[in-house]
């Protein structure tokens, strides 16, 4: 392939090539924004709310939150029946579908339930979760949803990042959209009916590495 030399005429206008006129132009733009915004801030000091909003486009995040889209995939929750039993039947489909292996279900048999099986414990390790939503699609019972609108799931402890069944059934003091929660206090819709020894179960060891876990999956 022959090398071709192309002369590109890249002549800047004199005002740019001399730098100083262009710099002065840029500085005048920024000082213009500065003065305008300072004027709005000053008017805002005297209690004018509209002026304050004009002075900055940003939201003061922890105090003011942008409305989240309804379909945004946020922290998981497990839906419950009318009597408070989780809808989950411990079929392990979500655990199988999960690409991050972050779901751990301890299935149990249920004494007096139409479903016969129920999760004794249902853990989601949010440290691993990539919020792909495959678990939601896999669930045949429509039991797991990702619509709590909770996004602030940080913690300084790994253990605290593991959601347990109780956390999943009760997503906390957050307004949850969905018809089955209409008019219900989420703190009172709690599951204990028919569940055995929920509080005494230790979280399963979750420190399996990705590869180990994959190998176990494939071997079994």
């Amino acid at each position: 392939m022959a090398t071709r030399f192309v002369n590109i005429e890249n002549k800047l206008p004199a005002s740019t090539a001399l730098y100083y006129p262009a710099i002065a132009g840029g500085l005048s733009v920024t000082i213009g924004h500065f003065l305008k915004n300072m004027l709005y801030h000053t008017i805002g000091l005297f209690g004018n709310k509209g002026a304050r909003e004009k002075a900055s486009f940003t939201l003061q995040y922890p105090e003011v939150m942008r409305p989240l889209p309804r379909r945004l995939r946020t922290r998981h929750r497990i839906k419950v029946h009318e009597d408070g039993r989780p809808k989950c039947t411990a079929c392990m489909l979500c655990e199988t579908a999960c690409p991050d292996f972050c779901i751990y279900i301890t299935p149990s048999e249920h004494d007096d339930s139409p479903e016969e099986k129920a999760p004794l414990e249902f853990q989601i390790d949010l440290d691993r979760c990539c919020f792909c939503g495959f678990c939601v699609e896999a669930c045949p019972k429509d039991a797991i949803h990702m619509d709590t609108q909770i996004m602030e799931t940080s913690s300084d402890r790994r253990e605290n990042m593991v959601l347990r069944l109780q956390d999943l059934v009760d997503p906390g003091p957050v307004v949850v959209s969905g018809p089955e929660f209409a008019g219900k206090d989420m703190h009172k819709v709690l599951p204990h009916l028919g569940m055995r020894k929920l509080d005494h179960i230790k979280p399963r060891r979750i420190d399996l590495s990705y590869r180990e876990r994959q190998a176990t999956e494939q071997g079994s």
């Binding site: 100083y20 710099i23 840029g26 500085l27 733009v29 920024t30 000082i31 924004h33 500065f34 915004n37 300072m38 801030h41 002075a55 900055s56 486009f57 940003t58 003061q60």
Partner: protein, 365 residues
């Protein structure tokens, strides 16, 4: 009182008032001002989260929070580097910046209890050269930091820093020669005294900016290049590329930053002294305001003195804010463009300035 003791007491008091009472406070407030000013430019609010008992005071407590953070962070010294040099580097830069203030006159001499006190710590007869010399100490800080880290990215940052700072030191020095030719002195009080005069029947103050406009246009960018700030921030490039302070953490990293802000204040004071009349205010003489034949207001001596000191401080703060604004307005130079600008565009202009100034001074002045 023993005169030696008296002199050293006065000098210590001056160091305390000027360095701790002015420079450090201005440099610390600049860290806040930079965040707030840029926020207002960009339609944001800026740092306002730190509060004490619910009071936020426009985010001023963020300065304290930043200080506590850098004090309590781990001070990691790379075991693969050179620990002594690694510890030394930030202090060299800070030392060079702080020491430069010794020769800057903050106001005209004042008589207190029968004793004339100059408003500078030492009245060196080579004050201008002294500031330039200590300003170039920053190069050592950069090269030692990059070398002692024993990290190739830090070393590359340091190499960029050295080539930039040494290139622009040439322009810096050459542009100052015009000022020296015109004022006929390298002693800062004499340079300021020369600028106290007027042109055109007292309508234009004989400031350096009017006597040497090209020198100012060359000196100011070169000096910004010396402080390693945008648009000349390739040695560090905190937003994208990694710089010479890569292996620094905690307080020593903060010292680099503080040194940078003190350099801004030094530069502002230096520009005010050389090009903007120092503590001279236009049409303010020793007796009061004299505006040709139009206006004559007599003022007491102490008021004139105070106005001059405050005027000089206002000039310093104006140039500090101007530098912050330049930083938040202009994009960064590409490195080859930066060196081309320094060597092939600014240095010939500086030489031309010297040539023309020398001819004019020889025939007129």
């Amino acid at each position: 009182m023993n005169p030696l003791l008296q002199h050293s007491l006065i000098a210590t008091a001056k160091i305390g008032v000027i360095l701790l009472g002015f420079i450090m406070i201005v440099a610390t407030l600049l860290t806040w001002a930079e965040r707030k000013q840029s926020a207002v430019f960009q339609h944001r609010i800026g740092a306002n989260r730190a509060d004490i008992f619910g009071f936020r005071v426009l985010g001023l407590f963020n300065i304290i929070a930043d200080g506590i953070k850098s004090f309590t962070k781990e001070d990691w010294v790379p075991p693969f580097g050179s620990p002594i040099l690694h510890n030394l580097a930030p202090f060299i830069g800070l030392f060079g910046a702080m020491v430069s203030f010794a020769v800057i006159p903050f106001g005209p001499p004042i008589e207190i209890m029968g004793q004339t006190i100059t408003m500078q710590v030492v009245d060196l007869n080579i004050g201008l050269l002294y500031i330039v010399a200590f300003g170039s100490m920053g190069v050592y800080s950069v090269v030692i930091a990059g070398w002692a880290s024993n990290n190739k990215y830090a070393l590359f940052g340091a190499l960029r820093g050295i080539s930039q700072m040494i290139s622009y030191e040439v322009v810096l020095g050459l542009s100052l020669i015009g000022v020296i030719l015109v004022t006929g002195s390298v002693r800062l009080p004499e340079i300021i005294a020369w600028q106290g005069d007027y042109w055109l029947n007292g309508w234009i103050p004989r400031w350096g900016i009017f006597a040497q406009p090209l020198a100012f246009l060359l000196f100011f960018p070169a000096a910004i290049a010396e402080t390693k700030r945008t648009p000349f921030d390739v040695p560090e490039g905190e937003s994208e590329i990694i710089g010479y302070n890569l292996e620094y953490s905690g307080l020593k990293f903060g010292l680099f930053l503080l040194g940078e802000f003190i350099e801004i204040v030094v530069l502002s004071a230096f520009v005010s002294v050389l090009f903007f009349g120092g503590w001279h205010l236009p049409w303010l003489t020793d007796e009061g305001i004299r505006m040709g034949t139009l206006l004559a207001i007599d003022l007491p001596e102490i008021v004139v003195w105070l106005m001059r000191v405050l005027g000089f401080s206002a000039k310093i703060i104006f140039f500090c804010l101007l530098q912050l604004q330049i930083r938040w307005t202009l994009p960064r130079f590409r490195f080859d463009h930066l060196l081309r600008l320094g060597w092939k565009e600014m240095m010939p202009l500086a030489l031309l300035n010297i040539f023309v100034t020398a001819i004019v001074v020889y025939y007129i002045g």
